[in-house]
């Protein structure tokens, strides 16, 4: 009895339990940290033989399920800042559409794989290191209940954010700054979502926590809502433009991930914010190192498929 399933778009068979396990682990992290988990899922799928572009597109579809589940839970708890999410979303839709077109161009040039890997390493390295050192400071500096309550540091980025026009108050998060800020990050995350097959939570969460100084629980709910909307857009566009969403792959992953996400959301209540963040940053850095080693170590085979299928 074979426990594998044939993925019609990827054109390969993969073990069902492996996919369920991947979905479960990534979903758990998703529920724990309020991220889609795509930054882990796409590279893991590539490692088990799913082509990069199909892994990224199908993963967006899977994230729709995990984040729908998480968003529902957080919306019930009142921890979604819909005004913030709306602006992030507006930017995300524009960015996601740009990203899908960009991937199409890169695929025809045969460079999609490299761009995906390089984008991952840069983003994961930057975000992971920043989060790691920030939370380490937080843990060392004694109790720091939540970043929103912490004293605002006058970093150049923070000064820039404060100087922008179109100021807006976000009641749920209890912060006030320019509407351009979430719009800008929405576009950036939307592009990354399409290129990397991620919801962008692992970038958006630190941006909201550190730059926008929103309370952690609102950050997670808002991030999940924004991820949900961005990934719906990316999935539909990837399916319509690039034909690389494997719904069988996505459905099996999501069975694992929706269960994992719920367990993660429950477990997250037992950890403090800084502990959560340092754990998250370590995971981000490990994935980044794995990908970096892939670029630094001599490959087993000195040729690769290129220029599409």
């Amino acid at each position: 009895m074979s426990f594998s399933v044939y993925l019609p778009i990827a054109g390969n068979a993969v073990n069902v339990f492996l996919l369920l396990g991947l979905g479960g682990v990534v979903g758990f992290l998703s529920g724990l940290f309020g991220v889609g988990g795509g930054f882990l899922m796409t590279p893991l799928l590539m490692m088990i033989g799913v082509p990069a572009t199909i892994a990224a597109a199908s993963d967006s579809n899977q994230i729709v399920a995990a984040s729908a589940s998480g968003t529902y839970a957080h919306a019930r708890a009142g921890s979604v800042d819909f005004r913030m999410a709306g602006l992030l979303l507006a930017g995300g839709l524009v960015g996601g559409s740009l990203g899908v077109v960009l991937i199409k161009l890169l695929r025809s040039a045969g460079e999609a794989g490299f761009v995906i890997t390089a984008t991952y390493i840069l983003m994961l390295g930057g975000v992971g290191s920043y989060m790691f050192f920030e939370s380490l400071q937080g843990l060392r500096g004694g109790r720091r209940p939540a970043p929103a309550d912490a004293e605002r540091r006058r970093s150049p980025a923070a000064r820039l954010v404060e100087s922008l026009p179109l100021k807006m108050h976000f009641a749920r998060s209890n912060v006030t700054f320019s509407a351009l800020v979430p719009l800008f990050f929405g576009v950036v995350v939307g592009i990354l979502a399409a290129i990397m097959g991620v919801g962008g939570g692992f970038i958006m969460v630190p941006v909201m926590v550190y730059l926008l100084r929103m309370p952690m629980h609102v950050v997670i709910g808002t991030s999940l809502f924004q991820i949900l909307a961005t990934c719906i857009n990316v999935t539909i566009l990837q399916a319509a433009v690039n034909h690389n969403v494997d719904v069988v792959l996505a459905l099996i992953l999501l069975i694992g991930s929706v269960v994992g996400a719920q367990l993660g959301a429950r477990f997250s209540k037992r950890l403090q914010a800084d502990q959560l963040k340092i754990l998250m940053s370590v995971i981000v850095l490990v994935v980044m190192l794995k990908m970096l080693l892939g670029l630094l170590l001599r490959p087993d085979v000195m040729v690769a498929y290129g220029g599409g299928h």
Partner: protein, 273 residues
């Protein structure tokens, strides 16, 4: 997941003819083919010859049976259609990163190449004969046209073979074809070839070759087809022909599954952090 294709009436007729010929005490021609060379005639069956890839498809084992003249050695090749293969070669960039650098192109390389022989390939026949028949990886290389740095042709072809071998799309099993005395003057050949799940759907040619006294020939030929079927075929068609609708359905399914679990797990108190 796999099944026999049509052609039953044809086989019945062939079986009848075969019976008559055996009664007449002559060797049996297969499908009317009487290739020259070693002078013997052979039947070739491939089971299954019509492989369907549905959701539970995990590759297929092809049982190939045939006959060759007594005293010879056999090779069975299952090969995909030859075509252009574009590859990126990996090279060091800035002395640090291994990246895809230049593009190389091989023409006339099969998408699938499964070879099973009764003896080491090099002992079957001289290189010129092997090349003519397309038996062995060296023969593939000799046939392939190459666009890239000429000095590295051999190395890069070897790397391409390693890439394909890693995926199971190229496989050479020397000595794995079994020979057994058959009808007078013939040897029965039996070999199992594994068609991996990642084989691109299409039609593949199966050839039985016979080698004796430094010469060789194709003594029988058949085909095996791999196609997506059932739900897998439906999904594939939807994805490629009605992409937008397919995307929307995928999203709706995902939201429904996510919300359903949210509701199931959300019973009772829910207060993140």
């Amino acid at each position: 997941m796999t099944g026999r294709g049509a052609g039953v009436p044809g086989r019945a007729v062939a079986g009848l003819l075969l019976g008559l010929l055996v009664l007449a005490g002559t060797p049996a021609p297969a499908g009317g083919e009487t290739p020259g060379g070693t002078g013997a005639l052979a039947a070739l069956t491939v089971m299954p010859d019509d492989v369907r890839a549905d959701l539970l498809f995990n590759g297929a084992l092809l049982h190939v049976r045939g006959t060759i003249p007594e005293g010879g050695q056999a090779a069975i090749v299952c090969a995909g259609p030859g075509g252009r293969l574009k590859l990126r070669r990996k090279g060091r960039v800035w002395g640090l990163f291994w990246l895809n650098t230049g593009e190389i192109v091989f023409d006339d390389v099969p998408s699938l190449y499964l070879l099973c022989t009764s003896a080491p390939v090099a002992q079957l026949a001289p290189t010129v004969v092997l090349n003519r028949l397309g038996a062995g990886l060296d023969a593939l290389e000799s046939r392939a046209a190459f666009a890239g740095p000429a000095a590295e042709r051999r190395t890069l072809f070897g790397e391409m073979v390693r890439l394909k071998t890693g995926e199971g799309l190229y496989a050479v099993a020397e000595g794995a074809a079994r020979l057994r005395p058959g009808a007078p003057g013939t040897l029965d050949v039996a070999a199992d070839l594994f068609l991996p799940a990642r084989t691109p759907p299409g039609e593949f040619t199966v050839r039985l070759m016979s080698f004796r006294g430094g010469d060789g020939s194709v003594v029988a030929e058949s085909t095996v087809a791999l196609r997506q079927a059932g739900i897998a075929a439906f999904i594939s068609r939807m994805a490629h022909e009605r992409g937008l609708l397919y995307g929307i359905v995928s999203v709706v399914l995902a939201i429904a599954a996510g919300m359903l679990t949210g509701v199931v797990f959300g019973r009772g108190s829910r207060r993140p952090h």
